[in-house]
Symmetry: C2
Subunit: 406 residues, 2 copies
């Protein structure tokens, strides 16, 4: 087994659920162990490691001209409950492997090359994705970050205290153009490369993501005793909203509108009790901001209509609503040349998924390299990219980092 | 404050959630503390207490002819998550108060009078209601009871070991006609008595309850990357089922058909992940077995249709499906005479809620006494019956027990 495949396997063992599923929530014991493992591997090859106060981790291969803005690469290692082994991790450990390959080839970069492990790309704990890159890019201010509350009702600062990080958030933001270029390697998390039998995707644009939290309050009561016409069942209202969300995405003018009700909780949650409260989180994305925003408005209108008709109250919170990112043309061209020279098949494509690169693109030239994954599956224990697919991604990344650091 | 009102307030303090809500799951610390409190009160007035191996608790006031079949009364003290202070508890502590009132009046019964505290009337822990009375009546055999698994994946026996009960289940079942008569005092859990400004309901029939567990398996994936036509979203399938359940009850030929999806869980339960699994529990009741069974069949047909159309698999389990109970005419007449003599307003009525009396009716003559509760609310922190309403219920119970034990 190759070095990186072994490391990814070892990394998967840091999980709150048994493999093949992986559950690694930011700041959990598993996350902290996985971070320590990554740092050790970086230090083993002489990289200088810096960890910022929220846990974003920079592993630097010093260039011959260390004052020049470095070239960055990296991704995340946190994993949503019962997901897979490759989302994010391939970009972090692939960055490390790319540096090892370049070192072993005798190459010495002019610009420094940095691997960046982003904190909490997944929204599991704080209900907001890309916590680390949002703060690095300044899109999330320290003041607003302090207001974040996790699923166990602890603040970000309380989490940082628990894991012994410093809690002064003002030092996280990077200066504009801190990186001369940033390239993130990632599995596609979609079916296109596999279906078209391609080795590499070069990302030209990242879709516009948004999410809503919806709190619904109806009227509880005993399931046997309140006749149907008297009910204000918060669970049924929530069910109707979830179906409306699905239908609005299905009927959007853009084929790329996708919408998901990924969180659906009811209270009290007993078989003989009418649900008195429900909480939903809805994810809505598109490659076009116009159709994304129309769908977002339609969902909010529909929530109002359903709530009024059913006599329940609903409180909608826009959890995030980010613009799409356009990738840097010169980086796309660099990666394309590298891919051609390696003889790999490729296509330029749009990322439908949300990535830290969406926020890095706000402060420096950015692109992404995609590799295929089986059946397009991600956020699932069956998520899989083959050693060969990973190898081709790492080669493409290594030679792109080389070209950009010369 | 009256003795019983103080005791009910004290009882409410044994709760896993802050008052006014009450959460007291069977075999939890709170449940065990509440049981100990009840037993102490019984022993204080000289009742002989026997606890069977699953925790059904018999507190006996010995009659002058102790060989005669006793008269029974009682109910439950377990409470579903975030419910109220009166469901069940009024029947247990009302039974105790009734005996105290009779004792203080100088009465001495011929037949013994027993208060019965039933174990786990609520289905919260084991997914099945009336555990104690099902086993007392022999409707649940020791063999089937051994197969019960709770929400934390522990068997009934493992629970009994934890709380230091004996685990030989064969001794629980009572002989047929162990009681000469059984009368349960309970809040109505519905709006009728309050709306008609009546003091007492005398129950002639208990509705036929049933419940289903539905496991749905679809296809997970990243919420951003799987386009809408490719999805097999288990959460949306579950939402459609919940709405079908509501609609089938609304459109039943019987006005008394009620159906509730009280449990609605999805996995993995992350905002950016398509639900790959869902689990529902559905409660369906009616006063007429024909329309109940038709609705139950319609729900199952609809689950199949929705699952096939959406390409998800569903596995439906009938958790319980009990026949209605007809109350004993002579007991109904006795309670009616007592109520008339007390000058209380009353009506004969059907119980839409599920009670331990449903199962006691299988082994002995049984009826129930209802008192009004505010807004018909139950299984809710706002559940409330006034001291005066409780007093009238206790008086009716006391004189009924007297009449039946003479």
């Amino acid at each position: 087994m190759n070095r990186i495949d072994k490391e990814l396997q070892k990394l998967a063992s840091f999980s709150a659920t048994p493999n093949p599923s992986v559950t690694r929530i930011v700041y959990s014991e598993e996350d902290m162990e996985a971070r320590a493992y990554f740092i050790t591997l970086c230090e083993n090859i002489g990289l200088k490691v810096r960890v910022d106060v929220i846990g974003n981790t920079f592993a630097r291969w010093e260039g011959s001209q260390p004052d020049l803005a470095p070239v960055g690469t990296g991704s995340h290692i946190d994993a949503i409950p019962e997901s897979g082994q490759y989302d994010g991790t391939v970009g972090v450990f692939g960055g490390l492997e790319a540096i090892r390959v370049l070192k072993e080839s005798g190459y010495s970069p002019k610009r420094s090359i940095e691997i960046l492990l982003f904190t909490s790309e997944e929204p599991t704990r704080f209900g907001i994705g890309c916590l680390g890159s949002r703060m690095l890019s300044g899109q999330l201010t320290p003041e607003n970050a302090e207001k974040l509350i996790d699923t166990e009702n602890n603040s970000l600062k309380q989490n940082l205290e628990r894991v012994n990080f410093n809690t002064d958030l003002s030092s996280v933001k990077l200066p504009k153009n801190y990186y001369n270029a940033f390239v993130e390697l990632h599995i596609e998390q979609g079916p296109i490369l596999e279906a078209e039998n391609l080795d590499i995707g070069i990302v030209t644009m990242i879709a516009a993501p948004s999410s809503l939290g919806v709190q619904i309050v109806g009227q509880g009561g005993h399931a046997g005793c309140v006749l149907m016409p008297k009910r204000k069942d918060a669970g049924c209202a929530a069910a109707e909203i979830a179906l409306a969300v699905e239908s609005i995405a299905q009927n959007s003018a853009s084929d790329n509108t996708v919408a998901t009700t990924g969180i659906f909780n009811i209270k009290p949650g007993a078989v003989n009790s009418i649900p008195k409260e429900a909480y939903l989180e809805i994810d809505l994305r598109d490659t076009f901001i116009e159709t994304r925003d129309k769908a977002l408005n339609d969902v909010q209108d529909k929530i109002k209509e359903i709530s009024n008709r059913r006599g329940v109250t609903s409180n909608v919170k826009l959890l995030n609503c980010d613009p799409p990112a356009i990738c840097a043309e010169n980086l796309v061209n660099t990666v394309e040349n590298v891919t051609k020279n390696l003889g790999y098949s490729y296509k330029k494509m749009i990322s439908h998924a949300y990535h830290d690169s969406l926020f890095m693109a706000q402060i420096c030239p950015t692109t992404m390299i995609f590799i295929p994954c089986r059946d397009g599956l991600s956020h699932h224990p069956d998520e899989y990219s083959s050693p060969e697919q990973i190898h081709k991604g790492v080669q493409t990344l290594a030679l792109s980092l080389k070209a950009l650091s010369e």
